[in-house]
């Protein structure tokens, strides 16, 4: 999950590990916007996202010693962020259990390809973000992990605590849920034949 065209902040990490406050500050400044955006997509409210971002960086500070420099720092950081956000969401147990049940019991309909194309064509980025905010926690989390931070199926399975083979199902259900929400705002119906 390394970022092409961008070198890892190896020096900053080494300096931050020795307790250099400036290096830590630079590291924070460099990654805070991306992590906040990640949290903003994953968490239900703006305040939750702010809290989560702060807590992730506080956690990062404690865990920096554990970072393996041979691996991608960005990927490692997103993994921490994903685990933290999912933990926060899971703690809201009642709501979570209901959502999971709902999602798992809904049969998936085969979409009409043309209608799906039109729906994608007509939706703006902002509408998609708003629709994301209305999804269930697991669906939203899965989409953010996959399409924002480019996490692998293994990493998603690990973070969500599901079998790897189930990740595709989670993502597909999440897409259906998203289409449902996007479709509610227009006359387009995405469902179709089976």
């Amino acid at each position: 999950m390394s970022v092409p065209g961008r070198t890892e902040p190896t020096d900053l990490i080494v300096q931050a590990r020795t307790g250099d406050a400036d290096a830590w500050g630079d590291l924070y400044r460099e990654f805070a916007p991306a992590i906040f955006r990640f949290c903003r997509r994953a968490m239900p409210t703006h305040e939750d996202a702010e809290d989560a971002t702060m807590e992730i960086f506080m956690k990062l500070r404690g865990k920096l010693e554990q970072y393996d420099p041979t691996r991608s720092f960005t990927a490692w950081l997103y993994k921490i962020a994903a685990n933290h956000c999912w933990d926060m969401l899971r703690r809201r147990k009642g709501r979570q259990a209901k959502e999971t049940d709902d999602v798992d019991n809904v049969p998936l309909e085969h979409p009409d390809p043309n209608q799906l194309e039109r729906l994608i064509e007509e939706r703006s980025n902002e509408e998609v973000r708003k629709a994301l905010g209305r999804l269930g926690a697991r669906a939203r989390m899965a989409l953010v992990m996959r399409y924002y931070s480019d996490m692998s199926y293994d990493e998603i399975a690990d973070a969500l605590g599901v079998r790897r083979a189930f990740v595709g199902v989670v993502l597909l259900r999440a897409r259906h849920e998203l289409r449902q929400v996007l479709g509610e705002n227009s006359a387009l119906a995405v469902g179709g034949t089976r």
Binding site: D20, A21, P33, D51, Y147, G168
Partner: protein, 558 residues
């Protein structure tokens, strides 16, 4: 794969996501070359992936101010700030004493008014402290420490943790090496330790053993730890002793601080005596030049006290001379015929003092009946008023949360950093009023001083609200919305008021609430005052998924 039958969406998604094995991926690729419907769906899924990535990566809002603040550095530099605040507080105390209290005290003494309150006796007359001369040395050391900290902070980039530690220890070692050279200290240990009459010790003397006897001369302080201590010689400094039985029959030019089972003074103490003993005897030959402060079970005072006597005891018998005032609190006090008190005399106890008609008192003894406060005596009115006050606090909290919702949330979040809040709270609670008083005393800063004091009192009032909200969030979970937060605050304030009303532990709980709350507010204010980093901070460029399809394959052969 059966020709003519469409692929399911899951297979197509896994193909788009490059999650199929090579053989299966080739099957899908072949199928989509001939099936328009599946090809259209495959393209749609791919476009959907791109739309999701694009929508999520778009930077539609800047980093919030709270996050843009340089939190990492703030957290790290807080230790430095605490050191600075502590240093300033210490400097404030010294300035307050040296600049204002000491001159006032001297003026009052010249005007014939001796120190009459416990605080001044304990703190400013040197009965408890070794003396302000010694304190000045402490200030110098603190100043040096602050200076060293500044240097270490300034050059932190050039020194690693190990070398910094080495530097600190080396400096301490140097200080310790220099200090003994200035004054030699004699250590004596044994079953019986004796300093004979003709022996003269230059410097301090440490004595430990069962029987300790000092008949010679010590040109310094005497520190004694033993079962029995007799000081029959001459001590030019102070005597600090922890002994079962202590007898002072010689001369002490400084102060005596005694923690013993019983102490008898038949000699002369030029300055003050602070005593925490079961039995205290000041013989008829005994003389204390300045004041006597004691906490004891039984007290007999036949000798002479040059200035004031402050005592907390069970029972006391007074037949000697007190040159200053008498302030006593205990069960019983008897003032017999030979007694003389030249200043104001007051006694708070269970029953009035027995005063002989032949005793010479400058003014009639003031007696205050000691009131025992128990839960039963609190009555219904107490609880009604407490309830009204609780409601008032909740109302105040609602108003404040309504006026400053964001700051309220920040304060509560700051309070959840327990260590930092308590640490800073302790410093601010004790440091801020000192700073305010200093500002008040200097005429130029009168307005600033009073404003600070007013804000300080207001901050103290708000501590219950802050801590109450945190407690409420413990119970009902965290929130940042107004009414749920207000509900948690109301519940928490109620609980805090209940806990602080419990006898004995209530006081400590209230103190903890004050320290915690003051710390939370201070921390939130501190963060608000931090410079805000501009929101156009460079973000981490994350490239969208550029090629979702397996390499060397085409969608439907196109």
């Amino acid at each position: 794969m059966t020709p003519g039958k469409h692929l399911d969406e899951m297979t197509l998604l896994l193909y788009v996501e490059r999650q199929l094995d090579r053989e299966r991926a080739q099957e899908v690729s072949l199928h989509t070359q001939t099936c328009t419907r599946c090809l259209t769906l495959l393209r749609a899924l791919d476009r959907e992936s791109r739309l999701l990535t694009r929508a999520m990566l778009e930077q539609e809002e800047p980093l919030p101010t709270r996050l843009a603040e340089f939190r990492g550095a703030v957290k790290r530099s807080m230790q430095w700030i605490w050191g600075l605040v502590f240093g300033l507080a210490v400097l404030g105390v010294y300035t307050l004493y040296a600049g204002y209290i000491e001159p006032w005290e001297q003026q009052l003494e010249q005007a014939g008014f001796g120190s009459t309150n416990l605080l001044s006796l304990l703190v400013f007359q040197g009965a408890f402290w070794k003396g302000w001369q010694s304190m000045f040395t402490l200030f110098e050391v603190l100043a040096l420490a602050v200076l060293a900290g500044s240097a270490a902070f300034a050059f932190r980039k050039y020194i690693r943790r190990g070398s910094a530690l080495a530097m600190v220890f080396a400096s301490l070692g140097l200080l310790l090496a220099i200090t003994p050279a200035a004054s030699a200290t004699e250590f004596r240990k044994g079953e019986t330790v004796t300093v004979p009459k003709d022996e003269n010790i230059k410097g301090d003397l440490f004595m430990t053993g069962n029987h300790l006897r000092m008949d010679g001369t010590v040109d310094g302080d005497v520190f004694a730890f033993g079962q029995q201590l007799d000081v029959g010689g001459h001590v030019t400094g102070d005597v600090i002793c922890f002994a079962q039985a202590t007898r002072i029959s010689g001369q002490v030019d400084g102060n005596i601080r005694a923690f013993a089972n019983n102490i008898t003074i038949s000699g002369t103490v030029e300055r003050n005596v602070l005593s925490m003993n079961e039995v205290v005897n000041l013989d008829s030959n005994g003389k204390i030049g300045h004041s006597l402060t004691l906490f004891a079970q039984s007290v007999t005072l036949d000798g002479k006290i040059g200035r004031d006597f402050v005592g907390f005891f069970n029972q006391a018998n007074l037949s000697g001379l007190i040159g200053g005032s008498l302030q006593a609190r205990g069960q019983s006090l008897a003032i017999s015929s030979g007694a003389e008190i030249d200043g104001k005399a007051s006694f708070e106890g269970d029953k009035p003092a027995m005063v002989s008609n032949e005793a010479k008192l400058a003014s009639p003894l003031e007696f205050t009946k000691h009131e025992h406060h128990t839960d039963h005596e609190r009555g219904v009115g107490y609880y009604i008023w407490r309830l009204i006050w609780t409601a008032a606090f909740v109302l105040l909290g609602l108003v404040l949360y309504g006026l400053f919702p964001r700051f309220a949330v920040e304060t509560v979040q700051a309070g959840e950093q327990y260590g930092a809040a308590f640490g800073l709270g302790t410093l601010v609670t004790f440091g801020l009023p000192i700073a305010a008083i200093i500002a008040c005393v200097t005429i130029v800063g009168l307005l600033l001083g009073f404003s600070t004091l007013f804000l300080y009192v207001f901050m103290l009032l708000c501590t219950g609200i802050v801590v109450g909200t945190i407690v409420g969030q413990w119970i009902l979970g965290r929130t940042t919305e107004f009414w749920p937060l207000a509900g948690r605050m109301a519940l928490g304030v109620l609980l805090v008021r209940i806990v602080t009303a419990i006898p004995f532990i209530g006081f400590w709980a209230a103190l903890a609430v004050v320290l915690w709350g003051v710390g939370a507010i201070s921390l939130a204010v501190y963060r608000r005052l931090q410079p805000v980093v501009a929101p156009n901070i460079p973000s981490v460029p994350i490239t969208p998924l550029s090629s979702p399809l397996p390499p060397n394959t085409t969608v439907g052969g196109m």
